[in-house]
Amino acid sequence: MRFSDAFEARFTEMLTHYPTKRSVLVPTLLFAQDEVGYVSEDVIAELATRLELTTLDVRNVMSYYSMLVTKPRGKYNVQVCTNIACTLKGGDELLSHCAKRLGIGHKGTTADGQFSLEEVECIGACSWAPAIQVNYDFHENLDVPKMDAVLDGYAKK
């Protein structure tokens, strides 16, 4: 299967960082997911061949990380933290508000494929709780109206 040139360049470079090939598996899985949207069967097979692993090996490593998914999800993956600091500051309300507004639950994806929702553990933004992460971007000190504004912003993109 074909990846972008940027991926290939990064892959080739990464191989030089480690004594064994299989060590690049975890970052590579993430980069592949960023490109394809999820870790597809093709990605698994391709990486297994490139790194001289069995597909079982790749699956085993992959299933360890909740950030890696095997099914397509929305263009914007809304990750709402409900760990201790965020919960004290209203993380649960944010989560149920998102669920209501988007009409989906934890790990769900909207019919138009724009959004998916995920309840996550601490994302390291406790000082600005409650916090969420959409793809790689953080949004902090939220309440329900601010949350709506954030979602509106993505919906318009």
Binding site: T54, T55, L56, D57, R59, N60, S63, Y64
Partner: protein, 781 residues
């Protein structure tokens, strides 16, 4: 990992465990050092010779308090001088208790129905180290049991995540069919095919599982361990000679085999068995086993008594003999040494014929003659695990010699042996090879010639992968190897074997193994199941007919009588069924084979698992075959042959030495075989043994084999104790005619076939079918 080794050459470390001073090589694992000193440290995930996991925390102990703040895992701690260890404190006991309590948290506790009940490590640990109460009151998380293959079932709630199965499959088997998905409490053992296994079906994972999470299709829910008799014997399938402990139970038919394993790690094979040794004993349990003698009456095979059947054979044989008719005798490479020896003795002395043969799968005559005078050059199955360098020439050991492949693979993994593979195919063992040389198909003998110094042979064996230069370099490498072990397939015969032996003779400490296919191929060759060779490969005065000769004689209507013991010449030895119309055919077999179906008399024989005797594996290791039980209506081939001889009016003590030597004839007056009992009595007395009292006692003939067959004068004590002992090629025929010309019929077995026996094993058939249907699915996609 893996190469922890045995601490060879390492300095000793003195440590103190529970106040006791112990000494062990520095760098050994604490758990091993303690075990050797008699201090038990409980463990789940630790397994000798597999990589370290440190997963279960059952083995924690206090090391060097107060320097080390936490309890340490004894299975991953290497010892060093002055270490002070506590294994029996309150703190350690509490910790073990907690581990067991957590493991039991979601454990289904279905011990009363679990296969592992009664021999479960979790049960034992709970009994010894656990607490009697649990604080866990939530409902348990249940999952359905899954079938992953015809052989392997998985019951995930019972799994304690020790990862032994994953490691044994990965490391010891090099199959890597099992993995771990998810993490933490949701970790799950998963098969490589998603919902099924695509693997060698060896069952190693099942037997290594400390609990009942992995179970086998053939044993699950059938019985409890304490309801069986456990009999250790030798696998009856390939030529490698794995020791297996059969779990047997009495049944209406007499006995039923339920299990095969080698958990006690006795024998050559440690805890290894392939699918055949572990599960393909099922042929013995088949409903269609013959259990009544049959005699053809008015054209129809009719059930009769043993008396009637044996008399019919004896009378007819006597008649054929009297009228000067031609006999043919076909033995089996699955017979015990005693049966084979008796059969040829019966043929030669009672029937008076040298027309005797069997399905040959390796040129042993050429092998022993090539090694004449150099018995130390014969390699053993243990060598394959210990020597520093191995050359595999031809064949695919993974399929045809699963134990040899296992030994070689783990020798490379654990002792860093160097493996050289020469093959026309990229066989699986290439993965362990330091060097792989690819040759054109059928040029194995060219390799032998080249190695032996014939430089002109290189043209025929050079390929794009291995050039002539590469060959010359490889030959140099092999020449300078220390204690090289060479194992060659049946592709080498005659001169090829002489060449490889010549080459081995030029390498310091080199040894050779000649690979044959059946459980006792080597033994029956040693016992003289040849028309031209007597026991010990001595030339017969006049060569008889071989298989082809007998078949031709039958074709011409010149074969008066044919005795077939455990073979199926009509099916797989090239006999045309209708050629035997005018021959009196007697078949001793477990099943109504194609040959039995056209026989005049069929005598139901016991399987190797219902027989006592000895087997010699392909590398000359002699082992005890122990009878696990009786199947009603059958008799061991040994007894059947003695009964036939008796019905012919022969004094059976001339065949099987029995009695205390009262006739004192000493054999001077009545031919070569008479007085055998007396000679045997003298021998037994000298050995401090008792006279044999039954003509059906195979051990009586073993006495004779020990006396008369060169290379079989082994330590009987060792043999009887269940150990493998080395026969040697010493004293055997120095020079056989170079152009003897062997006609070999190799079985070309895969992991899921077993020569002429495999078709009777349901387990092998179902695995083979399962794989075929998957291939079809893939092809149809």
């Amino acid at each position: 990992m893996g190469t922890r080794g045995f601490g060879f050459g390492m300095a000793d470390a003195n440590i103190t465990v529970d106040g006791k001073k112990i000494t062990a090589p520095a760098g050994s694992l604490l758990i091993d050092a303690c075990k050797n000193a008699g201090i038990e440290i409980p463990s789940f995930c630790y397994y000798p010779n597999l990589s370290l996991q440190g997963a279960c925390r059952m083995c924690v102990v206090r090391v060097d308090a107060p320097k080390m703040p936490k309890l340490q895992t004894a299975c991953t701690t290497t010892i060093s001088d002055g270490m002070v260890v506590t294994t029996d404190s309150e703190e350690v006991k509490q910790s073990r208790k907690a581990v067991v309590e957590i493991l039991l948290g979601n454990h289904p506790l279905d011990c009363p129905v679990c296969d592992a009940g009664g021999q479960c490590e979790l049960q034992d640990m709970t009994f010894t180290y656990g607490a009697s109460e649990s604080r866990y009151v939530e409902p348990k998380n249940h999952k359905q049991e899954q079938q992953w293959s015809p052989v392997v079932f998985f019951d995930s709630p019972r799994c304690i995540l020790c990862y032994r199965c994953v490691r044994v499959c990965n490391e010891a088997m090099d199959v890597a069919a099992l993995g771990v998905e998810n993490r933490g409490v949701s970790s799950l053992i998963v098969p490589n095919g998603g919902d099924h296994l695509d693997c060698e079906e060896c069952g190693m994972c099942i037997d290594i599982c400390p609990v009942g999470a992995l179970t086998s299709g053939s044993y699950r829910y059938k019985t409890r361990p304490w309801e069986m008799n456990h009999v250790s014997t030798i696998c009856t399938h390939c030529g490698d000679g794995c020791k297996t402990t059969l779990g047997v139970r009495s049944s209406e038919a007499g006995m039923e085999i339920l299990r095969g394993d080698n958990r006690d790690k006795s024998g050559i094979n440690d805890d290894f068995l392939c699918i055949k040794g572990r599960y393909a004993f099922d042929f013995a349990n088949r409903e269609d086993r013959l259990r009544q003698p049959l005699v053809r009456k008015n054209g129809v095979l009719t059930a009769v008594t043993w008396e009637e059947a044996v008399t019919a054979v004896g009378d007819k044989f006597a008649e054929v003999k009297q009228s000067g008719g031609v006999f043919g005798v076909i033995g089996s490479p699955r017979s015990t040494n005693e049966e084979a020896y008796l059969l040829q003795k019966f043929a030669r002395s009672t029937l008076g014929t040298n027309n005797i043969d069997h399905q040959r799968t390796a040129d042993f005559p050429a092998f022993v003659s090539a090694l004449a005078g150099k018995p130390e050059m014969a390699g053993s199955m243990r060598d394959a695990y210990m020597v520093p360098a191995i050359l595999l020439l031809g064949g695919d050991a993974t399929d045809e010699h699963p134990l040899l492949a296992y030994q070689v693979r783990n020798n490379v993994r654990l002792h860093s042996a160097k493996l050289y593979v020469v093959n026309s195919q990229e066989i699986k063992l290439k993965r362990q090879a330091a060097e792989f040389a690819q040759i054109p198909a059928g040029t194995e003998s060219g390799v032998a010639a080249f190695l032996a110094g014939d430089d002109s042979a290189v043209a025929a064996i050079a390929t794009a992968i291995t050039s002539a230069d590469a060959w010359r370099a490889l030959r140099e490498t092999l020449r300078s190897a220390q204690n090289l072990l060479i194992a060659f397939s049946s592709d080498l015969q005659g001169d090829g074997i002489a060449n490889i032996a010549k080459f081995a003779g030029s390498v310091s400490g080199a040894k050779v193994i000649c690979l044959a296919d059946y459980a006792n191929s080597r033994g029956v060759a040693d016992m003289g199941l040849y028309p031209d060779l007597l026991p010990g490969y001595a030339s017969a005065a006049k060569a008889g007919l071989d298989l082809a000769g007998m078949s031709a004689a039958a074709q011409q209507g010149k074969l008066g009588a044919l005795l077939v013991v455990g073979a199926n010449p009509v099916y797989d030895l090239g006999f045309a069924a209708d050629s035997l119309n005018n021959t009196f055919v007697v078949v001793q077999d477990m099943f109504l084979t194609e040959t039995a179906a056209i026989a005049d008399v069929v005598l139901p024989s016991a399987s190797a698992y219902e027989t006592s005797g000895t087997f010699t594996n392909t590398s000359g290791d002699l082992q005890l075959v122990k009878k696990a039980g009786d199947l009603h209506g059958t008799k061991p081939d040994f007894e059947i042959i003695v009964r036939i001889a008796s019905a012919m009016g022969v004094d059976v003590s001339t065949l099987v030495p029995l009695g205390a030597g009262t006739t004192a004839d000493m054999g001077q007056s009545r031919g070569a075989q008479s007085g055998e009992a007396d000679r045997s009595a003298v021998y037994l007395q000298k050995q401090g043994l008792e006279a044999r009292v039954s003509p059906f006692d195979a051990a009586a003939l073993f006495d004779e084999i020990q006396r008369l067959v060169p290379g079989y004068d082994v330590s009987r004590m060792n043999l009887m104790a269940g150990n493998d002992v080395r026969t040697t090629t010493a004293g055997k025929a120095a020079a056989l005619p170079a152009s003897r010309g062997e006609s070999l019929r190799p079985a070309h077995d895969t992991l899921f076939s077993s020569g002429s026996l495999g078709r009777y094993s349901r387990v092998l058939n179902s695995v083979a079918e399962n794989r075929d249907s998957k291939l079809v699915e893939v092809a149809a996609d």
